[in-house]
Subunit: 212 residues, 2 copies
């Protein structure tokens, strides 16, 4: 089974690496990182390079498409090779999936028309402009329509486990989970804006300003 | 603040990318991926390349050292440039940290002598051979000794949030967590061998055999 994970400039690394780590535990899954060109793509702050081993043209019909998000998705969603690749690949995929603002790219490709979908909590309004019905939910799946979207960054891990249940069975999904020791114990219950105080959101705004 | 994340052949990607994604949210943190040589390192199955931007020699005294695990850690723990770098860097770090079997490399560098520490659930016995006292715990911290070890693969995310509390404050840690929407909702409570049935462990053994 061929999984294609898209790379583009200024992506968020965990959006792809969370699902990659879960999915690669299944020996029959072959994962290829793909891009507009082969070679290295840098994350949003430039601190990490990830390698694309194939171009979109070289992998036109993968069974699973996974599109990550990141600040660079704002550029990608305007159209271009990534959006066109998703549009064409989606016709024959088993599942077309996204993490974080990767759903904006799925939306731009017309994959989310009329469907409920999710994205990073900071991008729900933008998602609505692409014909999707944004909802606040960790993973939104449409099995008949072969589309799954996940919320921000770390939500791709939960999504990938669910995807293994759909593609194989619950035993496969749990085997991948136990190998990755995904037994989360966050020190805080602070994973969503609805769960944190104004002090945390103010600090976040300060950090985002400093990074931009 | 300089964070150095070590790369080596056949590492586990999420071991480094989980903490990277949390830590990079803090603008005063500068993260460099380092290796025995500059350039690309491949994950255990060869499906992903990550770029090292500096050699160990070029970054001898980072404030934070983070060592990931993966099947390649079995080779690294026998000694060599990575172990020597950890041994020397640890003298002046603020914290020396590991995820998964990265703790075997910390152990080989003498960093864990007499300390409780953790690793992937499948490597606890090996960890004991390096003078550490292995315990089953998600994150094991020794603040006075400046050492933190995390359990398998995904545990690095929890560790990194805790590290931000220690380095900055709880507000910084929560700001990073909310940005990464780390509000885990795994479809199964199957993150540790103690939580799954024999069918799951049998499947895992089958998968590991097929991959090796």
């Amino acid at each position: 089974m061929q999984v294609a994970i898209a790379l583009f400039p200024r992506l968020t690394a965990l959006d792809c690496i969370g699902p990659y780590e879960i999915l690669q535990r299944i020996p029959s899954i072959d994962i290829t990182f793909v891009g507009e060109r082969r070679g290295e793509f840098r994350t949003e702050n430039g601190m990490l390079g990830l390698t694309a081993d194939a171009t979109f043209d070289e992998l036109p019909t993968p069974e699973i498409v996974l599109v990550p998000g990141g600040i660079g998705s704002r550029e990608q969603m305007r159209g271009g090779p990534l959006v066109e690749w998703v549009r064409h690949a989606h016709r024959t995929t088993t599942f077309t999936t996204s993490v974080c603002t990767g759903s904006l790219i799925l939306g731009a490709a017309g994959v989310l028309d009329g469907l409920t979908a999710t994205t990073h909590w900071g991008a729900l309004d933008t998602l609505a402009t692409f014909g999707a019905k944004p909802i606040t939910q960790r993973v939104v799946e449409h099995v008949a329509e072969r589309v799954i979207t996940a919320a921000g960054v770390s939500a791709g891990i939960d999504m990938a486990i669910r995807l293994l249940s759909l593609l194989f069975d619950d035993v496969a999904a749990q085997a991948a989970q136990v190998f990755c020791e995904y037994d989360p114990q966050p020190p805080f219950d602070a994973g969503h804006p609805s769960k944190v105080g104004a002090d945390v959101m103010a600090r976040l705004a300060e950090y985002r300003m400093a990074r931009s």
